[in-house]
Structures are given as C-alpha cells and as structure tokens.
Symmetry: C2
Subunit: 308 residues, 2 copies
C-alpha cells in the first residue's frame, strides 16, 4: 500500500462471491478505498466475509451499505441486479458511480439504470477473469492480473466517472478497454458463452450414460473430456443468468455452431475424407492468432498455477 | 538402462511421428530392444529421425525394416495401415508380434489382420497419450507416463504375445488394460473423439466470422475458447482417419450430443431458468468423478509442464 490517499473514500461491494471477494482482496492490497463496505443477502456468507476480514463494514441492507460510497460495484448474480438496484437506490450518494462485474452488459441498462436516481453515473464493467470455484473463500487478489476488463458505458456518460472505474481495474492489474454493450455481448457470446454451453452439454451427454459406461468414461477422461469437465464445473446460477440475459446473441451463435456440426456429421456419414481433412486444417489459423495474442500462456498460468 | 538383456531382440517402428518417435525415445531410455529399426515413407522424415538418432537402422521399405523383428509396431496414420500391412507382410518373422498405436481398434482387424501370414500374433494397442504437436521432433520419452494403454486382442490370441506388449507399455510408464475392441471404440468415441470433433467445430465456427470480429474474438479468447483452440490444433490426418474408421460410434455420440444441445437451445429460447439451472448443476457430478480418478492432475502436468 502506498502513502498516497486512496482513489476512493468509500467503495461498496454488493455481493461477495468469487469476483466480489477477489475485488475486496485486491482493493485492500492496492489501497483502493479508505473504507470498504460489504453487503450480501445471506447471513452465513456475510459472517464468512467478516471472518475472512474482507472489508471494513458489513451489512445485509443494500441501502445502508452504499451510504456515502463514491463507488458501488454490483457483484451479485445478474438475476438479482434489478431487486438489489431498487433496494440500494434510496441510499446512493448524489454524483456517485455505480458499476458491476456481470458477464452480459446490455441487460445492465434495463435491470439497473431504470432504478437509479438522476445524477448517478452508471459505468457497466466486465472483468473477464474467473475460475470454476465460487464463494467468498474462493477469491484472491491476483485473479484479475493480466486479464481484460471491458467497460460498456452508454454514450454521453461522464468521462471522469469512466476514468475512475478504468483506473480501479488498472490498479488491479487488468488491461481495460471500452466497447459498445451490444458488441460486447456478441463477442463474449462467441469467446465465452458458446464454449461454456458446449462444455455443459458434452458433460451432460456423458452424465446420461448408463452407470457402468459412465465409470469407464470417467476413468479414461484423460483425452479431451477432462478440459470440458473443468469448464462445466462453473457456477450454475451465473450461467443460467447469462443464458437469460444474453439470449439473442447466445441463440445466434448456438445456431451457427449447430449448422457447422450438422455439416460435419454429414461429411462423416458420407466418408468425405478430403472435406474432413480441410475442416480440421483450417482451424489451426485461429490457434496461431490466440498464441500471438498471448491469451494462451496468460491463462494457463492463472488457472493452473496462479492461485496462491 | 539396466544390465539385464532387453525384452525384445529387435523392435521395428513403422512410422515415426509424435507417438512413434516418443516410443523410440522410451525404448532407448528403458532398454526395450537390442535393435530398433525405423521405417517411414518420407525421405525427409527418415533423414530427420536419423539426425535425431532415434533408432539403430533406417529404411524406406517396410518389409526390410521388419526383418527379424520380434515386435512390429504400426505408428503410421490409420489410413495407411492397409498398404503398410501388405508391404511389410513378406518380411515378417514367423511367430513375431504385430501391434499398433491407433486411436480406433475394430478397424485394425480389417485393415491389418487380413494381410498377415499365419502364425503372426496381432495385439492391437492404444496408448491414450498425446499432445497437439506432430512429427519426429515433437516426441519425448515421458509422453506415456501415468497414462492408460488399452490392448484389444481378439479372443484366442496367444497369451504370451499379449503379455509381451503389456510389459513393453508398462515399462514406458503406462497403466495397461485389456478391452474388447468394439467397447474401446465406443468408450473412446465419448471421452476423446466427441470432445475433439466439438473443438474442431467450435473453432471452425469462429474461423468463419468476418475478419474484424475474428480479431476481437481472438483477443478476448481467454475464456473457454482457449482450451478449444489448443485441442483443435491436433493432427488433421489422424482425426480424419478416426472419423472414417470409427464412423458408427462417432455418429452415435454426435447424435446424442446434438439432441442434448437442441434441448438446451429450446430452454434458452423459452427462458426456462429452472431447467437451465438444473442442467448446469448435474454436470458437477462428472467433474468430481474425474478428479477422484486423478485424470485431472495427471494431464495438466503432462500437457502443460511435463515436456522436457
């Protein structure tokens, strides 16, 4: 922690799961707030956050937690945004900033903005980082380092408010970029939501096997299946909400994927060796792009070895 | 290497790609053969194998390479099994063992057994190990360690021949199991072929995006997409052959997967939150099974850090 005064006098974190508790730890580590207030609905989780010493004050009332806060960050499941936004609204300090950490961004305007008093600056954000773990114990300050954070403020949003949110995530070690919310939802539907839903489905298909076969499949899962089971162990509430909140983009990419898979099945049924070889060769181009963008090594480190 | 005499006087490896060259290195390391003969069709690859000092003799003639060998291991792409089997047959030593390393096993009987002289013992094998790399430079002796090797000999196969192949893979560090060939093809269609084909398809879907979107998708691939791009960088010839050789089992599991994916799309379109939550929760059971079977940690080590 440096001797300079913190960039925020008070930050309120609403929700203290994997992302919320990681942000709490990062905020302490980097001295981001003079005071860190934590809200969560569940008494057990609130007690756990207190036990872990994640903040400076704890409350089960959103309006109380956000009192005098310069920055409020919604870290609850996206399905709870609307009710929490309504509940916190009376406590918000005039001119303060409201942000979030959700995986879909267009929905934030409908779920949150509509309930905010005039003069509050909404700066939706998506720190693209996570593990398959959940809960306040699962968080760690380095979770965000070297990952992207995407901000999706509406046109005309106060520049100073955007800059303050950007500065916070930069101090947490993230590379920050601004993007239109609809574009974010489309890009992430491809890079994140599609792989996740495919992983759930493939592991679901295995789950439906007869018990004796399932046992053997688990035993020999060393091949490709292992990666999918890790992805498919992610938080079900979060992914339910992604499906409901980003429905159109998700259905669009699932539709494209299904078309491509149908074409592959047809080639296999017809024994079209050349078409199969061509299909399996062209995908290497994307791999090279990912390696050049250094997304590969960054993530291997974070997911497998980066956790303290 | 121990002072005991090697278990085989001469081993012939036909094909010297990732698996063949890894077996050559493991054979040297563990002293498995008095003489190691290497065949490959391509003059450039044969020269590379010689330069890497992978064997004791080198030939571009299968019948010459297998001369006097106690054990012949087919390591060529499965699409070449039939022509190589025909070409090597006149050189085989009476009573010798022929094995292989291919990913599908029923097809070996049709492609190889039909062309072997009487008195040769066929013991098909599948060492379930690999990386996304290919070629003789990509191999390493530790590739096989702590992975499964599945043997699928026909009923009535000479027990001593089976035991010798089992012993070889055990000395390479593998856990060896015997299985009916059809059952192998069914289990591996689920654990290996399905995840592979899904990965190719999802990366193919991304490859078809417009260039500007593709660039951004690659940039933000840190989420689930990264794992898929690694899997989809695997050898296209090998996977073409898997599709052609294990067509029925592959189409069966792709059919089940497609049904499940269609049901998921329907739940998303209808906004069925409870059904989505249930689908995303039950997959955790399989993850626990994989972790209990220790398949997780074994593979993370081998793929990410195990290569010397």
């Amino acid at each position: 922690m440096s001797n300079a005064s913190p960039p925020f006098d008070k930050i309120a974190l609403l929700g203290i799961g994997l992302i919320g508790s990681s942000l709490a730890r990062a905020a302490k580590k980097h001295g981001l707030a003079g005071h860190l207030a934590i809200y969560t609905r569940s008494p057990a989780t609130l007690a756990k956050a207190k036990e872990l010493n994640l903040g400076d004050s704890y409350s089960d009332d959103p309006a109380e937690a956000v009192q005098d806060a310069d920055l409020v960050v919604l870290c609850v499941p996206m399905g709870a945004y609307e009710s929490v936004a309504k509940a916190m609204a009376p406590g918000l300090k005039p001119g303060s900033i409201v942000s979030d950490v959700g995986s879909t961004k267009q929905s934030v305007f409908g779920d949150v903005m509509a309930h905010l008093p005039a003069g509050i600056h909404l700066v939706p954000a998506h720190p693209v980082a996570g593990t398959a773990e959940s809960g306040p114990e699962a968080g760690y300050a380095k979770l965000f380092e070297d990952h992207w954070c995407i901000l999706t403020p509406a046109p005309g949003t106060d520049r100073a408010a955007i800059d303050k949110v950007q500065d916070m995530w930069s101090r947490c070690g993230m590379m920050v970029e601004e993007m239109d919310a609809a574009h974010h939802d489309h890009v992430l539907a491809i890079t994140s939501h599609l792989p996740q839903l495919i992983s759930y489905t493939i592991v679901g298909t295995v789950t439906d096997l007869q018990d004796d076969l399932k046992k053997e499949v688990t035993k020999f899962a060393a091949g490709g299946l292992r990666d999918f089971t890790r992805i498919a162990a992610s938080d079900p509430v979060m992914w339910r909400d992604v499906c409901l909140k980003n429905k159109d983009a998700v259905l669009d990419v699932l539709g494209r994927f299904t078309e491509d898979l149908t074409a592959l099945q047809r080639s296999i049924r017809r024994g079209e060796g050349e078409a199969l070889h061509e299909a399996f060769t062209r995908t290497r181009e994307i791999r090279r792009g990912v390696i050049e963008a250094k997304q590969d090594f960054i993530d291997v480190k974070t997911e497998d070895n980066g956790k303290p």
